[in-house]
Symmetry: C2
Subunit: 253 residues, 2 copies
């Protein structure tokens, strides 16, 4: 029995997120079906995190156990010919028996993309948040850095997923502007439900003058979701990096 880790990349527009659900088509289910077509085995694929409907992944790690004899390095091409065009398997590696894509994950980075222009870009419509009013990047930068460090992030999460603690460590939270494109990259040891989208909404709130960056630490202390900014829309969000030890870490680098 091998434990295979896959490096995936997907455009999440057509999916109801990663996680298998009863009635909606998900990325996990689509990958499981491709594995079934290839191996004849009905496996359960473990993903490195839940992504919501419309959220994308530049790098995503998933693992599954198999008794098939297909060489590990044959999986990417063999799966791609059985996957739809909006999901690709970029690489595969044999992982240690106890490897688990979510539990073994050291840290993750999400990137949120905003097109800040009066004119929408048709090629970005499902891949960024179109925000036509001017944004003050410098204020956004000052707001973003307030999230860095070990904090209770209950004020920037949506209720819906149970979690033991709402304390997380954010390693970086950076705003970068290149022309009309603003990218916000957030790296943490773990993320609460909708945390990045709520951080982005709060950073935008600061740009709009509805909140001062200096108020953010006190707002986090309140643990009150109603006091921070709205949840930014899903199509701007990308899981951009995931870190692991060992061979899986090398594959995802």
């Amino acid at each position: 029995m091998r434990n295979i880790a896959l490096r995936l990349r997907y455009d999440g527009t057509a999916y109801h997120g990663w996680q298998v659900q009863k009635n909606d088509v998900t990325v996990a289910e689509t990958v499981e079906n491709a594995i079934f077509k290839l191996t004849g085995e009905r496996v359960r694929v473990t993903g490195c995190g839940r992504t919501d409907a419309g959220v994308h992944a530049l790098r995503y790690c998933a693992n599954f156990k198999t008794e098939c004899s297909i060489p590990t390095d044959k999986f990417p091409l063999a799966l791609n010919s059985r996957l739809p065009g909006d999901i690709a398997c970029v690489a595969a590696t044999q992982a240690p028996e106890d490897f688990n894509a979510i539990l073994s994950c050291v840290k993750k980075e999400y990137t949120y993309r905003i097109i800040n222009s009066r004119i929408p870009d048709p090629f970005e419509r499902d891949r960024a948040w179109f925000y036509p009013a001017p944004l003050r990047t410098e204020v956004m930068e000052r707001a973003a850095e307030k999230f860095v460090g070990r904090h209770d992030f209950a004020a920037v999460r949506s209720v819906g997923t149970e979690t033991r603690t709402t304390v997380r460590t954010v390693h970086w939270c950076e705003v970068e502007r290149q022309g009309d494109l603003i990218s916000i990259r957030v790296c943490a040891d773990g993320f609460l439900y909708n945390m990045v989208r709520a951080i982005v909404g709060t950073v935008i709130y600061c740009s709009e003058g509805k909140l001062a960056p200096e108020e953010i630490p006190a707002l986090l202390d309140t643990r009150d979701r109603r006091l921070t900014g709205p949840t930014a829309p899903p199509q701007g969000l990308y899981l951009s990096r995931v870190w692991y030890d060992g061979a899986v870490g090398d594959m995802m680098a």
Copy 2:
């Protein structure tokens, strides 16, 4: 009565090309409907060229006559709020009475995008030709330059559109590689039906060793479409630039 020229940008994935057809949804019809919603006028929009189903436009020029009193500079935002997200109006200007988006066009450039990688990119699936076998860029460059100049291009067009002559002047035909992305840019005073896609297919033929770049001039002389390469798929093709004199030329620059 004003003659308004629009600068458009569209993702052609969902459309049966530019030109209005009986049963299929086209870009022209969608733009005409947006103008109707805005002005109450049923106008006929003239485009700078026909694009096929699935072909995109980074810059596209269209013009129409109107008796409405809406200021010209209000058209972009007003149209965008009435257009679907895959078509955007980037700018508008008042054109001379006799301006015609296709007849007044001085030259046009198309860009063809190829993703040359063993692994498909989900974010490029409707926006480039996925070509997994290795391509020899240097051979492609030598093949491309054979199309430059004044030639009879009957050997690289699909039959279907009537045209007075099949002689055109290609100003440049260039291949550029950046990582996995190969771009082929072709500029000419005019294009025959499917001409760029047949040129791309012929350039690829040369990379595959099915044809030598040196044979291309003689093949063009035969005027025989069966001797050149296949028509490359539509999703890699973009109308990238259009040139005009005067104010419309400034708007499209």
